[in-house]
């Protein structure tokens, strides 16, 4: 069912410092910060040959990553995102197996403009999993 690893998202307490580390110390291709006000984050995309890293920094009030950074002040990996062909089919299959989908269970439009869902970390070894329809 799941396809490619679309991205790994890392919540960071200092977007400029994190970008500089990836650009200078790791020699990666690091983009410019992009505000995503609908998602409460500013994102920096790091392009690797086979996937992307996304650095996430809180934007505005009630950012969904503020709580994570309060608990992890140095930052850390926030979630990983797998691609699926059909998010409704994927969701229905997951629910049948007993996995929990976060929120209302209806896909939302994610930061890439595509339908996404998040799965409960307790069902996936403590790892927050995003599914994105591609």
């Amino acid at each position: 069912m799941i396809g490619r690893l679309n991205h790994v998202a890392i919540a960071v307490p200092d977007l400029e410092a994190a970008s500089a580390q990836y650009r200078n110390a790791l020699g990666a291709k690091v983009g410019a910060p992009q505000d995503e006000p609908d998602h409460g984050v500013t994102v920096v995309f790091i392009e690797l040959p086979n996937t992307k890293i996304e650095l996430l920094y809180p934007l505005g009030e009630n950012s969904p990553i503020q709580g994570f950074l309060d608990k992890n002040p140095s930052g850390g990996i926030h979630h990983i995102c797998y691609e699926v062909d059909d998010i409704i089919t994927a969701r229905d299959h997951l629910l049948e197996t007993g996995a929990r989908v976060l929120g209302t269970g209806e896909p939302k439009i994610g930061a890439h403009g595509k339908p996404v869902l998040f799965l409960h970390p307790k069902d996936f070894s403590g790892c927050l999993v995003e599914l994105e329809q591609v």
Copy 2:
């Protein structure tokens, strides 16, 4: 400098349950458990079209992931691994930029039989980074 994302490693408290979730709920291609006594882990490889997920479970005394699981009893993402062409050149460049290499600073042979180094999580937004020479 860094190339492909080689893998995402997830430490899990129950290898059978985690394998079943990836195989059944996410429909992924999940391998058989492989003991890596030299590295203190049993590993399950999950092949995605563009990269791998590695489920890690402690093996023997003094497993390097036991402390992580003590702190994160549900499991969680333990590290991410980037590929490099030349690990000594990569290490020397990292040290010049002020990044810290864990251990002696000399590469060890990792679970894939190739030279690896680990970088200090505090220098990479709380994320433990492995470099593997490919």
